[in-house]
Each structure stands twice: as C-alpha cells, then as structure tokens.
C-alpha cells in the first residue's frame, strides 16, 4: 500500500474553475432564454385565451349549421356551414394528393435515391416549394388552371376557363402540405436502423416488400405527424383559397353532377370567411369572424393534440442503436 503510494506521487489538486466572468455570461444567457421562452408562452396563451373568450362570446351552435347569406347586420348574415364544409373538402382534396405523392417521394429519396443527381434535384425542389409563399403558389395556380387543357377542373363558358374551383385550390394546397409530408416521412425512414433493412433483405425479401411491410409501418408515426402538420397548414391557408376558390360565400356548383359539380364549382372556407368578415373585409362582421376563427383554431388544436397522441402511442419499443 505504502509502496504503491510512493511509486505514484499524489496528483496536485485540480485548479479551481476560473473566475465568475463566464458564469455571469452564462447566467445572463440562461435568463434570456427563460425570458424569451416565457414571452413566447405568454403570446401563445394570449392568442388562445383571446380567441377562446371572443369565440365563446359569439359562437352559437346554430352558426355551424346555417348557410351564410349576404346581409347588412349580424342577424341577417346566417352562419358558416358552407365555409366549414369547404374547409373539410379542400383539406381532403389536398391531403388525398399530397399524402401518396409525399410518401412516394420520401421513400424514393430515402431508400433508393437513384439517379443521384435527380434525387438531389428533387430534394431542392421540395425545399423550394416549402419556401415559396402560398400567394405565389396561388398565382401560379391561376395560370395553370385557367389553361384550356385543365378546363374540365373548373367552370368554363365559351372557351374561357374560370380556373377557380375546389379542385384547383385543393391541388395547389397539396403543394403546401407536400414538403412537410416528404420531410417528416423521410426523417422517419432514416431513423430506422440500417440493420433492420438488412434483416429483411437477409431473409430473401425484395426492397419493395421491405419498404411496404417493414419500413413504412415502422415510420407510420412520422407519416402521420407530417400529414397532420400539412393538414394544419392547408386548413390555415388563406391566400390560395381567396385566389383559387373563388371566395363565393356558399357552394356554387358548376353543372348538376352531385359531387363533381361542387368540386368544379367555387365556395369558401373558414379562412376566407374570417378574412371576408374581418374589419378589413367586405362583410365586416367581426363577431362572425371571431366565431369562425375560434372554430378554425379549435380544429388546428385538435390536430396538434392528435399528433401528440400518435407520437406517444408509437413508443412501443425500440432497438438499441
């Protein structure tokens, strides 16, 4: 024991960590983070509470089931049944396009990625679409959907294509949701350890079977998250709706085919309804705007809650990294 102690002389005591200067900076940094975090929470809370109070003041169940009408005061203008259904319709179209397209793109980028140059190009294209303001997408949409070749997707008379319809708005809105679905699905796929893919290939499964039966089911929570986030963006988008949906208060069908007519026709959504009835809109009925905004916010909050539930439920177990 003593011999050992002699052989290795005791280490000199560690120097005391340097003075309080960096500690102060550290403290200021932490305080700043705290303050900003608290500020952010306060802002979010203010929005929710404000909308909640205003909403509860003005929301009546009857508003949800009455058609809107033009009128001079609030007793005449009715409810917002059409915008509510319009929101659901537009969201359904957008997701129906964006989900398969986004998942397929993500699978290709993550699992195949060949040809390399095209994959990189696609990546940048997706990022570019993600960064494009929706009003620009909407303008682009008016050009595309006014072309005679796509006349069957909206109302047309005498060879002039109107170019505004649920089809048009839904298709362009799918571009808003697409990047979110692609990136979320891709992240989910890339989080799956490589040895799981190899395990599937090593028992004689094809790449496609591996993707279809193992990888996509494993990445499902990410797909759902991306879809929900995309759905939130779609529901909340105003510019595309105002420009491409025609912003007629009620469903204005083109033709007499039951669903097709509606889809080819114009209408409104909750966002365009809020815009219309805000103090700067033509309707200028703020109480209706508050009520509709409250319903809109409630839908988005429910979606967020759904994302959280899916995330938590998916924690079944995992492989050690």
């Amino acid at each position: 024991m003593e011999a050992g102690a002699l052989a290795t002389p005791p280490r000199p005591p560690r120097p005391v960590p340097a003075g309080p200067t960096w500690r102060l900076a550290d403290r200021i940094g932490i305080a700043l983070c705290w303050a900003l975090g608290a500020l952010f929470c306060a802002i979010a809370a203010a929005i929710v509470i404000f909308m909640l109070v205003q909403g509860i003041r003005y929301v009546r169940p009857s508003l949800l089931v009455t058609h809107p009408t033009a009128g001079f005061n609030e007793t005449q203008t009715g409810g917002f049944l059409d915008p509510l259904l319009g929101t659901l319709l537009v969201a359904a179209i957008a997701i129906a396009i964006a989900l398969p397209l986004g998942v397929a793109t993500a699978v290709w980028l993550s699992e195949y990625g060949r040809p390399f140059a095209l994959a990189r190009l696609t990546e940048s294209a997706v990022e570019m679409v993600a960064g494009t303001p929706s009003i620009v997408l909407a303008l682009f949409g008016t050009v595309v959907f006014s072309s005679p070749a796509l006349g069957f997707l909206s109302r047309s008379s005498g060879g002039v294509v109107f170019g505004r319809s649920f089809f048009a708005a839904g298709a362009i809105l799918s571009l808003v949701a697409l990047p979110l679905i692609v990136s979320s699905t891709r992240e989910g796929l890339q989080a799956i350890p490589t040895h799981l893919r190899e395990a599937s290939l090593a028992v004689g499964k094809t790449r496609f079977a591996t993707v279809r039966r193992i990888l996509l089911p494993t990445a499902r929570p990410s797909v759902v998250t991306g879809t929900m986030l995309g759905l939130g963006r779609v529901i909340g988008d105003t510019a595309i709706i105002v420009i491409l949906l025609g912003a007629t208060l009620r469903f204005n069908s083109a033709g007499h085919a039951p669903l097709l007519g509606v889809l080819k026709g114009t209408g409104s959504t909750l966002t365009s309804y809020v815009y219309q009835n805000s103090p700067s809109g033509e309707g200028n009925q703020p109480s209706k705007a508050y009520a509709a905004a409250f319903v809109l916010l409630a839908i988005v909050l429910v979606l967020n809650a759904a994302v959280e539930i899916v995330r938590r439920r998916s924690q079944v177990g995992s492989w050690n990294p």
Partner: protein
C-alpha cells in the same frame, strides 16, 4: 496462395475433457467442456468460397480466402476487429452488394452453383442471416416469422391456416415456442434481448435455409441467453450449415467444429476447433488465441 484443403469431415477428434497439449500456448479454457459433445453423423459440402477477395473502394477487406462450409458442422470465424470476418460472412448471401463501393473477386458457390448468378432474393432465402443486434421487426412475434413465409410478388398470400404450422415450427426450432406459444400476437420488441435474438433465428430458419449465417449473435446478450443460443446452434448443425462470426474465443471453442482465424483480411489458419485451440500451426493464431493481441 494455394487453396487450403479442408480436413476431411471424419477426422473430427472429439474430447469432452480435452487437455492442453503442453506446449504452453493453449489458453486455459481449452480444458473446459465443449457443447459439441458428439460429432455430427454426416457432413455435406454446401458452400465453397474460392479465392474470394472483397474490397471497399481501394481498401481490401478480405484477401484471397478459400473456405468450405458444410452442413453438419459449425464453422466459426474468429479474429480481431476489422479483420474482414463479417465482410466475408456478408458476402456469402451477397449482402455486401448493398454497399455500393464493395467489389468481390473469386467465386462463391452454393451446392455447386455460382451465387453471383442467382437471384439475390432466392439466394438469401437459402442463405439467411442473423445479426449482432437483435433486430426483430416492429410487428408481433407471429408476424415476424410469417413475414418471411409470405411469398412476395404473388397476389395470393398464404392464409393463416397455411402459415400457422410453419410459423410454430420455426419458433420451436429456435427454442422459443414454449415461451411465446400462449401469446403469438405479443409485440416482438417487448421480448427480452435473448428472446428477440431467438426470434431472429426463428425468422432466419423459417425460410428453410441451407446455410445459416450468424454475425456475433450473442455479443449483445447476457450469459444465460448466450448459453441457450449456443445450445441451439449446436442442435441446428445437422439441418443447416452454420457459420458464426464471433469475438468470443471461448464461444468458438465451445461450439465450433471448425474454426477459421482471420487476420488483416487473410484466412491465416483453418482447422478443427480442437486442433486450432490446442496446437495452432501458425504463430499469429497462437498469439491471438492466447490473448497476445486482438
């Protein structure tokens, strides 16, 4: 390099209480009992790697290896990290092809047929693999095995009635059936590590392979699970050719009929497990198994 001629199968010398031969180089565990208590009744040549070299880009990971793989015997590949043993193992069912920079020279045959000419999915059903990490699919126990049995590409997927027998059979061959029989719908990721690894073995066996490749199957497991799996490997030896890569020399000693020692990509020595550990021919082998490096 002259192709190494494998020792004939019947020359197996079996000693339950083998003793070191006294040259001082045999490690202490050589006197320990081995799991392989009896030689297999027969040994059939299944695969043959001839002058196989594998490179990743410029780096040669496996150099001119010639090695037979026989049903009825457990072949263990040992060697320090990075010696190419896992690469060699992965090349046996063409998993190396997943790495785009990998290239292979030489020939590997399965029952006389060149594997590079086979459809990789068919080859991988005949030569299946179990990995170092237990990696069950995030499905139920049942579906993990049934997934392998369901034919891909055909519209008609075998129904539950057709699958049930083979699934249970594979699970029982992997020694897992008794533990999971009452709840086959149990999520596989909730099994213990040892159970997960046996499920992976069941999955690999479900394809009815001729060769089973095991890449350090016990390195992530506790000693008891390791023991269960070692017993299992020895039992499987008669039905499938087993190749196991292991870092654990004592494991190789306990279960292997033949051992290949690899070092820096070369197959330094190949011989029966007992000879290899008690009287290695090569200096490097002797050093490695006595713990001088590795």
């Amino acid at each position: 390099m002259e192709p190494m001629s494998p020792p004939p199968a019947r020359q197996l010398v079996v000693g339950e209480h083998a003793s070191p031969n006294g040259n001082g180089s045999a490690p202490a565990f050589v006197s320990a009992p081995r799991r392989r208590v009896k030689p297999s009744q027969f040994a059939i040549d299944r695969m043959l790697a001839e002058n196989v070299s594998i490179s990743y880009g410029q780096k040669e990971a496996v150099k001119d290896v010639t090695l037979p793989i026989r049903q009825g015997e457990v072949l263990a590949l040992i060697g320090p990290s990075g010696c190419g043993k896992t690469t060699l193992l992965r090349s046996l069912n063409r998993l190396t092809e997943l790495t785009s920079s990998a290239s292979l020279r030489g020939q590997i045959t399965l029952d006389g047929a060149d594997i590079s000419l086979m459809d990789p999915t068919l080859l991988r059903r005949r030569v299946t693999m179990v990995f170092q990490q237990p990696n069950p699919f995030p499905l139920s126990v049942y579906d993990n095995v049934a997934y392998v049995l369901r034919e891909q590409g055909s519209r008609r997927r075998p129904g539950p009635r057709l699958l049930d027998g083979p699934v249970r059979d594979a699970l029982s061959r992997a020694g897992l059936l008794d533990e999971v029989a009452d709840n086959l719908k149990h999520p596989a990721l909730k099994l213990s590590g040892g159970q997960q690894q046996r499920l992976c073995i069941a999955r690999a066996l479900a394809a009815q392979p001729e060769v089973l490749l095991l890449d350090e199957p016990c390195s992530a497991l506790d000693p008891q699970s390791t023991q269960v799996i070692e017993d299992l490997i020895v039992k499987l030896r008669d039905d499938v050719a087993v190749v196991i890569v292991t870092h654990n020399l004592q494991q190789a000693y306990r279960i292997a009929d033949y051992v290949g020692f690899m070092y820096l990509g070369e197959l330094v020595e190949y011989g029966s497990g007992r000879t290899m550990f008690s009287s290695p021919r090569e200096q490097r082998t002797a050093e490695y198994i006595s713990g001088a490096f590795g």
